[in-house]
Symmetry: C2
């Protein structure tokens, strides 16, 4: 998998889901290349870009091959039947589900975005002291990453980012920036460990937000990935509103940025409309298309954010975005405590070895007080508190 020309060797370690190993399988290359050359010449994503993109730009999921992929997920659908041994049939999860999901459920990372997504909550106006207190609380809990608002947002955001980077926390500090070189430079100057870069990839956002097409996005991504990696800083590439984007384009674009050396691709359910089965479909397809880590971001407009996060892990995602109490734009994203309640039963040892659940209560009270909300009577963390 790792070659001198393939920056995938620099990726952070991650757990490969079913089929993930096929992403850099040489046997896929030829078919994909011929497909890219043979179909849809009008589609800019199928045309060669500049070197080295042209060399790397080979969709490894061509049309003819996609139908022949092994249907790894099929085991979910044959797992409950009369022939399940009695000892397995009564467990909380079906045997097949456990087999499919055990890898990522025993090894995933949390990117807490209370200080970025959470800042978009209607009553959140964090000052520096509050941001530091929240960052320290998140670090004490054990989140793997703390995501901050872009330093390009305001001078205050920049100064706060710098201050939080200087705290010497165990958690990596990443900031959420546009796919823009000035933003990347400013972020790196603050001392962050990583860049969470995004750009709109749905047709709506391409038309009404930045007015650019997929070719522009691919070229821009390449430029920034190279710059950020040359500074030895981690980088994620994410399509904003990617769940509503043309998913064949997303698979091709993410396959490209994977080969360009991103540490993670991010997939966002920006409007909160994704359903669990759709999440399984898409993350499963993405897991087969890229070798890098996969970060997911689920809004909670239909009450499915926690479940979607769990299903994403089962399908091969490696990183889940959360906020304390789920605060965020509209009615927010996956709550940190809710995610814990959901993953503790799947691999208690892993979760307890990594995260200090006893710190949740303090964190939830702190954030509730700062943003002026009451902790919901049916907060999912309830079940954790009563079981631990």
């Amino acid at each position: 998998m790792a070659t001198a020309d393939n920056p995938i060797s620099h990726h952070t370690s991650h757990t490969m889901g079913n089929g993930a190993s096929s992403s850099n399988n040489g046997a896929h290359g030829d078919g994909a290349t011929s497909s890219a050359n043979g179909h849809n010449q009008d589609n800019i994503l199928d045309a060669p870009l500049t070197t080295p993109v042209a060399d790397l730009y080979k969709c490894n999921m061509d049309e003819s091959e996609a139908d022949q992929r092994p249907l790894t997920g099929v085991s979910h659908f044959s797992s409950v039947s009369c022939d399940i041994p009695d000892s397995k049939a009564g467990t909380m999860m079906s045997n097949a589900t456990l087999v499919d999901s055990s890898v990522n459920l025993a090894s995933f990372s949390i990117i807490d975005s209370t200080l970025r997504e959470g800042e978009q909550f209607s009553t959140a106006h964090f000052n520096t002291a509050q941001k530091i207190k929240i960052a320290q609380g998140l670090d004490a809990f054990g989140v793997d990453y703390i995501e901050l608002t872009s330093p390009a947002a305001s001078e205050q955001s920049r100064a706060d980012c710098e201050a939080i980077c200087k705290l010497g926390l165990r958690a990596k500090i990443v900031c959420h920036i546009r796919c823009n070189m000035d933003d990347a430079r400013l972020a790196i100057q603050t001392g962050v460990d990583g860049i969470n870069m995004f750009i709109g990839t749905s047709s709506l956002l391409m038309k009404h937000s930045h007015g650019k097409d997929m070719t522009y996005i691919a070229a821009k991504a390449q430029e920034i990935i190279e710059y950020v990696k040359s500074n030895k800083v981690e980088i994620r590439f994410s399509g904003e509103d990617s769940f509503r984007s043309d998913f064949s384009d997303i698979l091709k674009l993410y396959s490209l940025v994977d080969r360009l050396g991103v540490d993670r691709v991010g997939i966002a359910d920006t409007v909160g409309g994704a359903t669990p089965m759709e999440v399984y479909d898409k993350i499963d397809a993405l897991r087969k298309a890229v070798g890098c880590d996969i970060e997911t971001h689920f809004h909670n407009d239909t009450g499915c954010a926690i479940a979607n996060s769990l299903v994403a892990l089962e399908a091969g995602a490696t990183h889940i975005d959360t906020t304390v109490l789920g605060i965020g734009e509209r009615n927010g994203i996956t709550p940190l405590g809710g995610l814990m309640a959901c993953v503790v039963p799947t691999d208690r040892n892993f979760v307890l070895s990594k995260y200090r659940l006893e710190k949740l209560d303090y964190l939830e009270k702190l954030v509730a007080q700062i943003v002026g909300v009451e902790i919901p009577f049916n907060n999912v963390t309830w079940s954790l508190k009563n079981k631990d």
Copy 2:
């Protein structure tokens, strides 16, 4: 499917999911019978019971056949790939998901249990006037069924049940009773439209709750089903804690009660540990095993109750249990408003033709006030209010 000996012809109409039509396929009978006779003679569920149970008692999902079933759910896993037409790939749900789920998402029923499950919420102590107000509110909203606490629970419960039956509501009134003839007689005397009968089917409940085995349960169920149906009252059979029960036993038992003429089987995630993929597995298997309606009951301990309800509908369930604000034992079950937020985008016309969403606000405020809780800042109904 309907024969003189097969009471399935009396069932309420329901939408048949993928594979549901196989449940009474004669071709299944022989294999199942030979399997039942050839394996596990020690398992009482494989041994003949008394007539007419013995005649009816043929599991239609025998061991050898289970592996050969068409894997209808497989379409979920091949739906997102490079060959999706552009016009489909960008939609909220994948094409295959829409095809699989469109039937039940365009035709399902709500069994609201605020006056039964909700009574188990820590601060719920409804008086008669409050119960009537809540029942009227639920009826105005348009729930299909209102579930009440068993009249056998107390003289007050019995009197309240009778009072609510006399209100002349459009919604059917059902009450939740033990698998016990005295309870059934008392319930029918109050004038209910239906009986929601349950009995523990997990090994824990069989051992520590009623101390009976599956043979006892099957025989008892037969007796009560016959009595209730002879009174022209609707009947559901449900295994308490059925998600943690031996699922091959559940499939066999439910197949039996289906043939005995129940209108619905109910499947309950009593401890709230079911995950979406597990729900798909089990409801999909159950949909293939029975021809009657399927009711589901999801607790929210891990924050997946809304998502699990949606996935259950996609897999072939027909009835979803809810309560206003999700109140119930521990941190409750699927909230009525949250379910609405989740199903409105899937079939807006169906949902709006059946349910009056503008009544939700009143219902939520009414119940919140009665049980003394604050409506959560992140209540999922928020997204409905802001989109309608």
